[in-house]
């Protein structure tokens, strides 16, 4: 534990850097997945092709993607932007399907009612369909968040620093505490972000907390 105490500053700095690298792909991934998921939801024929193609992206090994991307984008292999781009692609691959499923889950009666009330298509989407798809989209977002935070560590292999630095450095220097602190901190970060997302969901979707009556106590 000595090593951890002596290097607390380094660990904290890496954790902050790690968080910064994770948040951008999570947010960007959601923003890109939203219109793609909507297309898959709205136009049935595109659904199979679109979602399968996106799903396939997720099967590309991350290291391979880090190296292959610069060929297409022209960004340096070693840059943060390259890692962020790759992680955004993975985020989109997961989130697009979750957005499509989420929009599918909205009760058609409610959609009809919103139309009958006089919502235009655009307004109906943002005021009715988007919030009601919220719980399922949030479930997808939480998976993306945890997955992205785990994947950021791989960036160290192309020289982008994160908590992953503690893995490679600790491994080379044979400091077990360093490797372990990297693992534990990554997990803590993932749990923390997951918790924040869950709480945020409860706060912005208060209607999801009601409707389940308290379990009745058995008669004595």
């Amino acid at each position: 534990m000595n090593w951890v105490a002596e290097n607390a500053g380094l660990i904290l700095a890496l954790a902050v850097q790690h968080l910064r690298l994770s948040l951008l792909p999570i947010v960007l991934g959601f923003a890109i997945a939203l219109p793609l998921g909507y297309l898959a939801h709205r136009y049935r024929p595109t659904r199979g092709v679109l979602l399968t193609a996106l799903g396939l992206l997720y099967t590309i090994p991350s290291l391979a993607l880090f190296v292959a991307l610069p060929v297409v984008t022209g960004i340096s292999v070693l840059s943060e932007a390259n890692v962020v781009t790759a992680l955004t692609i993975y985020a989109v691959a997961i989130q697009a399907r979750s957005v499509a499923d989420a929009l599918d889950s909205v009760d058609p009666d409610v959609r009809q009612a919103a139309t009958a009330l006089g919502y235009s298509g655009w307004r109906r989407f943002w005021a009715v369909e988007f919030p009601l798809a919220g719980p399922v989209m949030l479930a997808g977002l939480r998976v993306v968040a945890v997955s992205t935070i785990a994947l950021v560590t791989v960036g160290i292999l192309v020289g982008v620093k994160s908590l992953g630095y503690l893995f490679t450095n600790g491994f080379q220097r044979r400091i077990l505490e360093e490797v372990l602190s990297g693992v534990v901190m990554t997990m803590l970060l993932a749990l923390l972000v997951d918790l924040v997302l869950a709480l945020l969901g409860r706060a912005v979707m208060p209607w999801t907390r009601i409707g389940t009556p308290a379990p009745r106590r058995a008669a004595p």
């Binding site: 009760d107 009666d109 409610v110 009809q112 009612a113 919103a114 139309t115 009958a116 009330l117 006089g118 919502y119 235009s120 307004r123 009715v128 919030p131 009601l132 979707m205 209607w207 009601i210 409707g211």
Partner: protein, 287 residues
């Protein structure tokens, strides 16, 4: 506001013809019930009024104006719509649900809420329910919210698609009486869709009995239809043919009881009916 259907037809892309050729005039400030089994096109016809369905041929006119020429979103905001299962927005509190259309029309939040609370009084909902979510209400309360929401923009036309179909019989009877009261107070043109004959006869000034494909089997007041069924189909549908509505009077323990053809009691003869000249009791005095 009067509504007129002029030779409307609706064929869906998959080839099914929901409505073949339908014409009807719905006079202003009356209640017209479109009555029929499922698949007769009654909901399709209802949705043509607010352009949720556009006819394949023919026109629908509101006060002699072709609705096809009106922006559908603007049209829907001035026509109230109540559906089965209330169709409430589950993520909005009761007051916000009721205030939906005023808010869409740009009414300020406070004014819209005040109006929503007034409407809760109108439809017999306690104001303490204003901040509940729809899932926290009973089925009957949800339907009342649905009606209040439809009235919020003060529409002249109210479309009701089996609004009381999903609630239990006692609540349904309550809601029906409530609607009769509201109609008297508010003077709206109401188009009401149902498959329930009793409900149609209770609520309709005009009842339009539909057969498959939106063909009118008979249109008229409930009394006209009962007295003069236009066909066996009509007689069957309204129950005249089965004897459910051919009633006679029997005396049981000194009380005059009205029974149907199968001998099932339908009610007790009122005192006024006993003494009225030409009343049903005359031919039945066997003692």
């Amino acid at each position: 506001m009067s509504i007129e259907f002029r030779g409307v037809r609706k064929a869906f892309p998959d080839g099914t013809v929901a409505v073949e050729d339908f014409s009807l005039v719905i006079p202003s400030r009356t209640t017209t019930v479109l009555l029929g089994s499922s698949g007769c096109g009654k909901t399709t016809l209802l949705r043509m009024v607010n352009r949720m369905v556009d006819p394949s041929a023919g026109t629908v006119l509101i006060d002699d104006e072709d609705v096809a020429a009106v922006d559908p979103v603007a049209l829907r905001r001035r026509i109230g719509y109540v559906m089965q299962n209330s169709g409430l927005l589950p993520h909005r509190r009761v007051a916000d649900n009721i205030a939906t259309v005023p808010r869409l029309n740009g009414v300020a939040k406070d004014a819209a809420r005040e109006r929503a609370l007034q409407l809760m009084d109108t439809v017999g909902l306690d104001r303490s329910l204003a901040d509940r979510y729809p899932a926290q209400l009973s089925g009957g309360q949800q339907q009342r919210v649905g009606v209040a929401r439809a009235l919020a923009a003060e529409p002249n036309i109210l479309l009701m698609d089996e609004p009381f179909g999903a609630v239990d019989p006692i609540v349904r009877a309550e809601l029906q009486q409530e609607l009769i009261r509201l109609r008297r107070e508010l003077e709206k043109t109401v188009v009401f869709v149902t498959h329930d004959v009793d409900e149609a006869f209770l609520l309709g000034d005009q009842v339009v009995l539909l057969q498959r494909g939106g063909r009118i089997a008979q249109a008229g007041t409930p009394a006209e239809i009962l007295a003069n069924p236009a066909s066996d189909f009509v007689a069957d549908f309204v129950g005249a043919g089965r004897g459910r509505r051919s009633l006679r009077v029997e005396e049981i323990d000194g009380v005059l009881v009205v029974v149907d053809a199968d001998g099932r009691p339908a009610g007790v003869l009122a005192d006024e009916a006993r003494t009225a000249p030409g009343s049903a009791t005359r031919g039945n005095r066997a003692q």
